[in-house]
Symmetry: C2
Subunit: 509 residues, 2 copies
Amino acid sequence: MISKRFLSTRFRLQGSVSNHLRRLSTPATMISVDDLNPAVLKVEYAVRGELAIKAEEFRAVLQDPKTASSLPFTKVVSSNIGNPQQKGLDQPPITFLRQVAALTEYPELMKTAKDAFPPDVIERAQELLTEIGSIGAYSLSQGVLFIRKSVAKFIEERDGYPSNPDHIFLTGGASPGVSLLIQMLIKPVTPNNPDPSGILIPLPQYPLYTGTLAQFSGTALPYYLDESNGWSTSPAEIEAALAQAKEKGVIPKALVIINPGNPTGALLDESTQEELVRLCEKHRLVLMADEVYQINLHRPKAAPFTSFKKIVRRLNSPIPLVSYHSISKGVTGECGRRGGYFELANFPDELVALVYKMVSVGLCSPLSGQIGVDSMVRPPKPGSPSYDLWKKETDATQAALASRTHTMATRLNALPGVSCVDSPGALYLFPSLYLPEKAIEEAKKLGKKPDEMYAMDLLKETGICVIPGSGFGQRPGSDHYRLSCLCPGVEEYVGALERFHLSFMKKYE
Amino acid sequence: MISKRFLSTRFRLQGSVSNHLRRLSTPATMISVDDLNPAVLKVEYAVRGELAIKAEEFRAVLQDPKTASSLPFTKVVSSNIGNPQQKGLDQPPITFLRQVAALTEYPELMKTAKDAFPPDVIERAQELLTEIGSIGAYSLSQGVLFIRKSVAKFIEERDGYPSNPDHIFLTGGASPGVSLLIQMLIKPVTPNNPDPSGILIPLPQYPLYTGTLAQFSGTALPYYLDESNGWSTSPAEIEAALAQAKEKGVIPKALVIINPGNPTGALLDESTQEELVRLCEKHRLVLMADEVYQINLHRPKAAPFTSFKKIVRRLNSPIPLVSYHSISKGVTGECGRRGGYFELANFPDELVALVYKMVSVGLCSPLSGQIGVDSMVRPPKPGSPSYDLWKKETDATQAALASRTHTMATRLNALPGVSCVDSPGALYLFPSLYLPEKAIEEAKKLGKKPDEMYAMDLLKETGICVIPGSGFGQRPGSDHYRLSCLCPGVEEYVGALERFHLSFMKKYE
């Protein structure tokens, strides 16, 4: 006879073994990649991909005193992303914006710490709070009307043409607005709609566009920018891409223009902009104008910014235009706040209402971002108590970025096997690499693209994280990388880049 | 001979007429609804739909002294949405959270206005800033690790089971995480994948779920909650919905449970939760547990909250679970900040990495929301300088909501033709209306659902904006509305509801 105790032990063991097996088999049996929307697998987003993850690993190694000395560098520099206020970078926040933000967070300070704030800051915060109430409350899905009116005024003053606050949508940075419009324009392929929808995307491009297109199973219709001509945009290249789309049966829906360019930093001249608007008219395209770097201008006289809204209005063009702006870049650099807007032009009311419905499902963009947008479009005026400090801070940021970009481009251009357009705008350089045959063979062996290998080696040897050109798209056979120009201590930084590059070239010569 | 001047005038006129016509024809010729993804047209989101828009119109009328007296009420009460800090409602922000927020916005105040902040607030802000650097910088896409560790600790203390910060994603409220998971789980219908994907959704439900499903062309598989049993969830109803899905060839991918319920306020008991977990095991479903109202409990002894994470771990179940939480509800009520998180359980690493990639495309959630999450999961401890005020504030909010909900339910139940479950949780009531035949006929004539007509009349006569039951889903032939229990001055508010209801019933009797 088997004892009770034995039985119970046996069952316990069985139970435990079966639980153990169950745990082991959990991932395979209950959910796997095969259960997912296959579009998810196709999304690529290099800016926060393999290199960025490796950079975070190194950062953790450096933080631990036991392991810190195992690496040949003492800090990781995140040049992979345009994140001006990141630790170790050198774009300080604008005091005016932060003071307004602090008062809207905790209005009691207007009484308890009145002296810590200039009077125009207190006035602005009061004005915003009167409109908004608590910044802990949802606003209208489209954003606070009062702030949309400020944005409309800013656009009118910039362009000299009217702007309608009802056609402005405040968003959490520019990205959600880009994603929304792509989602709205891409018609899924179905038996009744057999032709895929496509969107014209510049190459190189900020991977938000291809990433979002992959998510919504749209087709990217790439057109190349002309590196030999300062990364300029050629309407003929776009026409060629349209002809290719037609051959493949893809319906083109929109043209994406990034101006100033990301990752190229190029600026469009007005005559090209006019041609592009006419091209959209001819092909019935929505123009998606990503203008988030509109005030990051390093040589504003030689290479000024003109908005597409102004061009469209000046030409009296009927093309549907979506223009994007953000507080993440420019002199504001408030990425973490998540604020921005898009303006619709030439969209019929019915479509504006549909956009409104779609943004409603996501409720509203963060109020701290909305208030950041207000501060961006309504900076202190000359003569007001906050003006001098604001001017000093923003001038310093502009000057530092312009001089750093130029120095970096000059030094990179002096290296063997590197050629770099000296960008007139945005926050980046996108140098071209002419790598030795041996390096290209080595990369092949590793199953990597040559610039991927280069960027990974650079990170491992210097702690500098850049993104290979393959993450942005480039002509086959060419190699690039994007680095942001936000690093402090340009001498030390470029010195490390130079040393790495020379030793890399020597290794594979 | 025609004079030069005449010619030029004539051309000018022609140009102007053609431009004028062009403008008139713009909407029709360049973009129309036919150019859009048809899924966009199917999205419905009643919480911010027709009634909410009409309420905003009334608000504008009341703000203008010339028109204010044209309406039979003096204020609009937005009971259509759970927005605790909205103007005119009565849930004040938590001082501790706002003080921490103000200092992270403008750290200079630690020097210039030190006395305006308790020492534990300063300590917390310093700790956060050491980890984050500037709140104007992007964090990791998944959210600040330090804050994810705080969340993991909160979950561990709540449930008694381990939580992994790497499986926690900080999000801008709960909605973006819901949307992401739905997008990842729904496989588009293609020739190679002919069977539509479905997600089990309770009815009535928060329309985020059906709205997002419509966006991604997924199929809602509705299961009804049992109003006669306090809006309880019946596994048998879900089995029936699954059988129906099978008949229609729809592949069920996930089960959505909202606990505490929205719009019902119902709470699940643990044995039902266990049954639901077993049901997910049996049918290989992802469990999406929307637990954003987890601390909005009006009778916590009789109807406590237990997380699904706890149940899944206690049963040692292998089901993939996504649990959502938010700072928008509860005693925090910080909707406008956009903060929340989701935790993945039993997701293989490969899938966690895919989720990471997808959130990366959207960069990161707002830092002010992430910091809000930290304050929610790490409130002041007993004995700390901020504790007493925090306790007083949160107790007052809990007590006011509980007493108001009960009073409103009792008074609504006393009305002829109304029956209302006295919700034990969340922020809403969802009374059932038994409307006279004549009212139903009148609605039919107007092309409206009866509860839509009722809600619109209520708004027009009292300024109280509620959402008809049809916006949440209800059994055919039944009529309801959802109202939030956040209104102040319950006597005046319920008085207006009662007078309207009685006159409506009389009108159509």
